[in-house]
Structure formats: structure tokens, C-alpha cells
């Protein structure tokens, strides 16, 4: 109980036993989430997983069916959006089309009847940070997508809020702009040190921006961890498959006892599990899934030691910096990432070594990490 209290006082945003349903459809169920002060939290998931719904609940745009939301230790569950100390940036920018950029930025302040010189000061500061001063007199229709999104961020900035909410802010931009603005958002967070909650379906955005990522599926948070842990030690098969591109290789098989060691066996081929950091003692006979990322399979010259397998090159996908090999082994096709300079002919034989320290084992039934 004491722990609980101290955890509460430290967090910037706290979501407690939150449920939301539209009629009989449950979108969020008994969701708990504590976000630290100054943390950059990314809500990641495919469409329909409830991540935007959760963000709208935090913003006060949707009323939760049950549960509570605290921002800065204040229960804001039934507060109006404007009283929550939040600023929000939308996917479609949502700039007021009939107002100039300056009026767009100052709208909230004018509604709140902030004095004129204070408005000017805050607009000048926000437009300075985002470098949009030359655009202040323009209408949104005269701006490019990237400029519009900057203005939208500025609108949250002028309100001097504790928490920034981003609802897929970069999804409407082209790839180049997206990566540019991604860096800018990260820089902004480092400069402002505000709490930021960021919804996206793009795993690259999540991995690059987040202090912690919450991966959601059907209204439930599957794993809440820092990006490195999420990437290297996924809690279940869903998280493992969702994060990483190209996707993790999954081999269905079972555990077996061979020569005093527990090994992974699939289609008659056994893989040593030396180095695997298991949560629980591994016993033979259990049906499991072995997950290995493409970069954690070493090929030919990279092999430092350990158990070596042999495979046949099925397809080669050169991607510039990397070269992706699709290999056939033990009745499975698996992808392996090697350096871009190393090329293989289709049908060639290669030697493989699996880095089991970086692998994941999931129970075949529960799909949880073991």
C-alpha cells in the first residue's frame, strides 16, 4: 500500500482500472498505466487496438465507462479537456482553416482571455522554437503538410501544458518528412522535458522516440518496457512479431532432453539452447515456439563458435546497407540479415549459428515467453 502511494505521487499521468465500452463493444478493459514526469511514452499497436481511444480518454474527449485518470496527482476523470493541462496534436493537423497561423496558435489563449502581450510573447516563443515565424500571417491552406504539423505542435506549445498528447502526428506525411519531424519531436522533448504520450502504429517511430513503449492489442497492454527490452526480450509472441522488420523468425517445435541438456527440436533437427536466459527451468516434451531475429543468426565468417547448422539459400534480397537472405533449414524458411557487401547465389550452401542469448522461447499454447 505504501509503495502504491509513493508511485502515485511521482507519476505525471496515472490511469487506473480504466474501462471503456461503446454499447456492448469493450474497447478498453481494466487498463492500468503510470507515466513518469518528463517521460516519453509511446502507445503502439495496429489499428483498432484502442490506443487512440486511450489517448482520447486522457484528453477528456471520450468519457470512460469506469476507472479514473490522474494528471499531476489531480483526479481529472470528469474534468473538461481544457482544465487538464494537456495539449494535443492530431493526425489530420486539425488547424482551423479560416484562421491564420497566428490566430490558430493563439485561439486557445484568446478563448481563455489571456492578456494580449502575454499571448504575443507565447506565440513568439512557440513559433521561435518551431521556426514558423515566416508563416504566421498565412492560412493553413497555404502551408505544406510538414508546416501544418509544425503549427499543430505549436498550438499545443503555446498553451504551456504539462502533458503533450500526439495522435499519430506523422502518419499523413511522406517518408522523408516523417523522419525529419521525428527527429524534431525528439529534440523538442529533450528541450522541453514535458511528459509526452505518443500514439502510433509505426514501430520505427516507437523505437526511436520512446523512453517506454506500451504495446497494445484489443484494448490490453501486452508489454510496457523500454525499447531495448521490448525488442530483445518480448513478453509474448504477439510483441515479438509486431516489433522488428523484417519480422522475427518463428520455428514451431518442442523441447527435448539430449545428452543431459534441454534442446529445441523441430522436424528432427535439434538446436542447442546454450546461453538462453529462461524464466523457468526448461523441461523436455513441452511444445514451444523458438523466435530468432534475422540479425541474431550468424552466417559463415561471422560464426564465433557454438553449434553450427547448414542451410540452403532460397532468395536473396539486397537492401543496400543490408542483405537479407531467405534460407531453408529444418523444414522452415528463415530470414537472415548480413552485411550488404556479402552476396550469395541462390542454392548455395551456408553455415549458420544461432545466437541463443538473443533468442526468445514461447509456450506454444499460451504464447508467453518462458
Amino acid at each position: 500500500m505504501l509503495n502504491n502511494v509513493s508511485a502515485r505521487t511521482q507519476s505525471s499521468v496515472s490511469i487506473r482500472e480504466l474501462s471503456l465500452s461503446f454499447g456492448s463493444v469493450k474497447v478498453l478493459e481494466n487498463l492500468n498505466l503510470d507515466i513518469q514526469d518528463g517521460e516519453f511514452l509511446v502507445l503502439l499497436g495496429s489499428s483498432g487496438c484502442g490506443k487512440s481511444t486511450l489517448l482520447n480518454c486522457i484528453a477528456g474527449l471520450l468519457e470512460p465507462t469506469e476507472g479514473q485518470i490522474f494528471i499531476k496527482d489531480k483526479n481529472v476523470t470528469w474534468e473538461e479537456p481544457k482544465d487538464r493541462g494537456i495539449g494535443m496534436v492530431f493526425q489530420s493537423y486539425a488547424l482551423y482553416p479560416q484562421m491564420t497561423v497566428e490566430k490558430n496558435l493563439s485561439f486557445g489563449l484568446r478563448v481563455a482571455k489571456v492578456p494580449k502581450d502575454e499571448i504575443d510573447r507565447r506565440v513568439a516563443r512557440a513559433s521561435g522554437i518551431l521556426q514558423i515565424e515566416p508563416l504566421l500571417k498565412r492560412k493553413p491552406s497555404e502551408l505544406s503538410g510538414g508546416q501544418r504539423q509544425r503549427v499543430a505542435i505549436g498550438r499545443a506549445l503555446v498553451r504551456d501544458v504539462d502533458v503533450f498528447l500526439f495522435d499519430e502526428p506523422l502518419s499523413n506525411l511522406d517518408a522523408k518528412l516523417r523522419s525529419e519531424l521525428r527527429v524534431e519531436i525528439k529534440r523538442l522533448h529533450q528541450a522541453l522535458k514535458n511528459t509526452m504520450i505518443y500514439v502510433t502504429h509505426d514501430q520505427i517511430e516507437a523505437l526511436t522516440l520512446a523512453d517506454r513503449i506500451a504495446i497494445m492489442k484489443s484494448g490490453v497492454i501486452q508489454q510496457l518496457d523500454d525499447p531495448v527490452t521490448i525488442y530483445n526480450r518480448p513478453k509474448n509472441r504477439f510483441v515479438a512479431g509486431f516489433i522488428g522488420s523484417p519480422s522475427m523468425n518463428f520455428l514451431n517445435g518442442e523441447l527435448a532432453e539430449e545428452g543431459g541438456h534441454t534442446v529445441f527440436k523441430t522436424n528432427g533437427v535439434s538446436f542447442s539452447l546454450d546461453g538462453y536466459d529462461a524464466y523457468e527451468p526448461l523441461k523436455g516434451g513441452r511444445k514451444v515456439i523458438l523466435g530468432v531475429r534475422p540479425e541474431h543468426i550468424k552466417v559463415d565468417g561471422d560464426i564465433a563458435g557454438g553449434e553450427v547448422h547448414e542451410a540452403i539459400v532460397d532468395i536473396e534480397e539486397p537492401m543496400g546497407a543490408d542483405n537479407l537472405l531467405w534460407l531453408k533449414h529444418a523444414g522452415h524458411v528463415m530470414s537472415v540479415r548480413i552485411g550488404g557487401a556479402r552476396r550469395y547465389a541462390v542454392g548455395a550452401k551456408v553455415r549458420l549459428a544461432f545466437d541463443m542469448t538473443m533468442a526468445s522461447l514461447f509456450d506454444a499454447e499460451t504464447e508467453e515467453r518462458i
Binding site: 484528453a59 474527449l61 473538461e80 479537456p81 481544457k82 495539449g87 493526425q91 486539425a94 488547424l95
Partner: protein
């Protein structure tokens, strides 16, 4: 050039990659048989609808002796504006002999407030139903829509009683009230559907910015809604101006709208039928909706086009 073996060198002297020689006809756009049929059909339809109007205009400019000759299609030999003056200022309806002018001003006094009141209320209704979904708002909306399908005749007698109890029966205010209420279902539907089509995130952004119900309506929604206001204004103005049923039921002779007065002029049985005056009176009555269409029709199209470009 070396590789283009199939291309004779002479036909390609300047090194251009374009080939000379037959390449089929450039497609013609103006006088194809398809266009003749399309424009012919459109022209015929237009003439079919314009002939009655032509006859009315021509007849209204003739004197009675000329009309009695019976050549309804022939242009007037002697143009006279006498019938127009008579229709406007002297034609008799019942007891009054001051022409359509009385009805015109009655209609103006009925239409202008009815249009303003109904649009003002319906736009707020539509906005509330689209953006501020309250518990039961869908049911409320359904009831409103069902109201649009109930035949007016069913409701006339109850409304007469209600207006009588309110002391409004026979006054212009009573008729304005009736028009405003009866315009509500379709106008609300119109505005609701328009506001639903506006991006929801704009509304959310305004709420985050702290704007309330009326601030969002006046400062965010209204400036974006010119097209739908024009459409609504056209529908209401023409609908209320052209109304006959409510006008004849809920007013007294001295407050009759123009349509009722027109009917009384055209259908009066005593004396000679003055076709030229009837035609002029009809054209005068129809002038207002026509002008509304001509003036705001262009605005309407422009408004729709402006709204279509994503902001």
C-alpha cells in the same frame, strides 16, 4: 539511331524521334454524331420547358384586343406594360383592389423571419446532433426525421387550435411560427449531415483549446459552413415563398401571402378574364424564387467548390 532499323532515314531527317506518315485522324471534339444527339436532346428539352414561359411573357406584354386574336405564339405588335402595372397595383382580390403589392409585402414579412428563425435554430440543432452527442440524441434525431414524413394535412386542424389558443391565429406571427417549425426536420438533417462531414478532429482541437458550445459554433463551425447556409437559404426561401396551403389556412385576407392573392386574382369569376394581367401577376409572384436561384445559385456552386478543396 543505329538501332532504329525499321525507321527509314529519309522520313527522319532532323533526328527527331517522331515518325511522319499516316497516324490516323486526330479525334474531333465538336461535331461528332454523339454530340449532335446529346445537344439536340438537351435543346429540345430546354425549348419544351421555355415555351410556356415565352407565352406568358409575350401575353403579359399584349393588350386584350390583341390577345383575343388568339395567336398565342406571336410576339406582341404593340408592347404595353399596362397589365404589369395593373397586376401589381390595381387588380382586385376580394374586397381589396390594390393588386399584388399587398401580397408581396406580406410574403416578404412572412418569408424573411421564417427563413432566419428556421435556419438559426436548425443549424444549432444540426451542430448539437453532430458534435455533442447526448444520451438519446439518435432517438431524438429519428423522431425529428419521422416528422418530415407526416403529411401536412393531418396536422392542420390541431395547429389551428394551438394557434387560436396562443392568440396567434390569423396573424403573420402564427404563420411564421408554423413555417419555422415545419422547416425544422429537413433543415436539421441538412445541417447535421454537413457538420458530420467536417473533420471531427477540428471539433476536438477546439475543445482542447477550451472553447465551449457556442464558441465552437460561432468561431469554428460557422465560418466553415457558408455553402450549407446558402443551400438551406435557397430551400427555405423558395419553399416558404411558394407555400399556398399554410398561407390560405393560417392567415386572413388582409395578411394573405402573394401566392394566395395570385390564386384569387387568376380564379376570380366575375368580369372578363384578363389573361395579360394574370400572366403578369404569375410572373411577378414567381420572380422572387427565380431571382434567388439566379443570384445565389452561382454563390452556391462556388461555395461547394471551395469546400471541396481539403483545407
Amino acid at each position: 539511331m543505329d538501332k532504329s532499323l525499321t525507321m527509314p532515314a529519309i522520313s527522319n531527317p532532323a533526328g527527331s524521334r517522331l515518325e511522319t506518315g499516316p497516324q490516323g485522324k486526330r479525334p474531333r471534339k465538336t461535331l461528332s454524331s454523339r454530340n449532335i444527339i446529346v445537344y439536340g436532346a438537351l435543346g429540345l428539352a430546354a425549348i419544351y420547358y421555355l415555351i410556356p414561359l415565352y407565352v406568358m411573357v409575350v401575353t403579359s406584354l399584349k393588350g386584350m384586343p390583341e390577345i383575343r386574336l388568339g395567336n398565342i405564339f406571336s410576339p406582341p405588335m404593340e408592347i404595353t406594360f399596362e397589365p404589369w402595372v395593373k397586376a401589381w397595383a390595381q387588380a382586385c382580390t376580394g374586397l381589396n383592389c390594390d393588386g399584388l403589392s399587398r401580397g408581396f409585402w406580406n410574403s416578404v414579412r412572412i418569408t424573411v423571419p421564417s427563413v432566419i428563425v428556421s435556419i438559426a435554430i436548425a443549424s444549432v440543432n444540426g451542430y448539437a446532433l453532430a458534435n455533442w452527442r447526448f444520451k438519446g440524441s439518435e432517438i431524438f434525431f429519428t423522431i425529428l426525421i419521422v416528422g418530415a414524413f407526416i403529411p401536412y394535412q393531418v396536422m392542420i386542424y390541431p395547429i389551428v387550435i394551438v394557434l387560436r389558443e396562443m392568440g396567434l391565429y390569423g396573424t403573420l406571427y402564427g404563420l411564421i411560427l408554423v413555417h419555422s417549425i415545419f422547416g425544422m426536420p429537413i433543415q436539421t438533417l441538412l445541417f447535421r449531415n454537413y457538420f458530420v462531414s467536417l473533420p471531427e478532429e477540428l471539433f476536438k482541437a477546439a475543445r482542447i483549446d477550451g472553447a465551449g458550445f457556442w464558441q465552437i459554433y460561432f468561431r469554428i463551425m460557422l465560418p466553415m459552413s457558408l455553402p450549407i447556409f446558402v443551400v438551406s437559404m435557397i430551400l427555405q426561401t423558395t419553399g416558404i415563398w411558394n407555400d399556398f396551403l399554410f398561407g390560405v389556412v393560417f392567415t386572413r385576407p388582409d395578411t394573405y401571402p402573394m401566392t394566395v392573392q395570385l390564386n384569387n386574382i387568376v380564379n376570380s369569376v366575375q368580369g372578363v378574364k384578363e389573361y395579360n394581367v394574370n400572366m403578369a401577376a404569375t410572373l411577378l409572384t414567381g420572380a422572387v424564387p427565380l431571382i434567388v436561384y439566379f443570384v445565389s445559385g452561382r454563390l452556391f456552386v462556388r461555395g461547394i467548390a471551395a469546400g471541396a478543396v481539403k483545407g
